[in-house]
Amino acid sequence: MAKNWWKAIAVILVLFALIGGLLIDVPRLPILNETIRNLFYHVTMWFAMMILMTASVVYSIKYLRSGKELDDAKAKIAAEIGLFLGVLGIVTGSIWAKFTWGAYWINDPKLNGAAVTILAYFAYMILRNSFDDEEKRAKISAVYNIFAYVLLIVFLMILPRMTDSLHPGNGGNPAFSQYDLDNTMRIIFYPAIIGWTLIGVWLGELKLRLHKLRIKKLEDEL
């Protein structure tokens, strides 16, 4: 039980963000109105996704150095949870776009970049499934994972900032200085990122333990 303290923190932080995000005072801005609160929910999905993808690429590099099967499994699981959060992020973003920009999807560098990133990670999953040989699968997908992470950085962080984008935080369209006049939103926003990331790690831990059990069972049968 003592090693599960971080799960309790995850639950407390997310609960705090869910409740506080609805109750605190937010800046009154035209067009956004109350939907500004989506910052606490939609944006945190992406931040948690990026943190998990970073963990994934770290494990992939670790695998390439160590050759341990467990590192490859960790990389895969982190990417799976990250992809799940990314899909939630893109769907929620689309709903938010409908109410602020008037369409579910617009041809915007940030949105298309997000779509490319999601597709790159779906490709990672498909690539993994296309190998029978375990070692080959682990090696090639680890190399691909590094490539996918570079795509994520380029398409989510760099390219949208170099052109004009409707999405806040890009091309002279800042996120925080625009929304967050008095910094009150950060009080919810940062705990929400940590909380959702930890929930993602918890889900990943469950998957990893299941994976280990499966391996152990296979070994016992031999």
């Binding site: 599960n4 799960k7 639950v11 997310v14 609960l15 705090f16 869910l18 409740i19 506080g20 609805l22 109750l23 605190i24 005072d25 009154r28 801005l29 035209p30 109105n33 109350e34 009150t184 009080i187 918890w202 889900l203 469950l206 333990r209 299941l210 059990l213 152990k216 069972k217 016992d220």
Partner: protein, 73 residues
């Protein structure tokens, strides 16, 4: 431990008490819903759903622990 708990509680309470002060009108917000207290119904629903999912995750976690123990023995 006790100090920590009080500090966290105080932080949460101070946050929620800042809620009621609402100046600077003009942009349309859901003020009526808030003044009628209906927002708390939404908050309760969301909180219960999340707590439900967490309870489910905890039970999964426990089941896995049990299996791990069985396989170790």
């Amino acid at each position: 431990m006790n100090f920590k708990r009080t500090a966290i509680l105080a932080l949460i309470l101070s946050l929620f008490s800042a809620v009621s002060v609402r100046a600077q009108q003009g942009v349309e917000m859901a003020d009526v819903m808030r003044s009628e207290g209906k927002i708390y119904i939404v908050v309760a629903v969301i909180a219960i759903i999340f707590i439900g999912i967490v309870i489910y995750m905890i039970s999964l976690d426990r089941k896995l622990s049990k299996l791990e123990k069985e396989l170790r023995d």
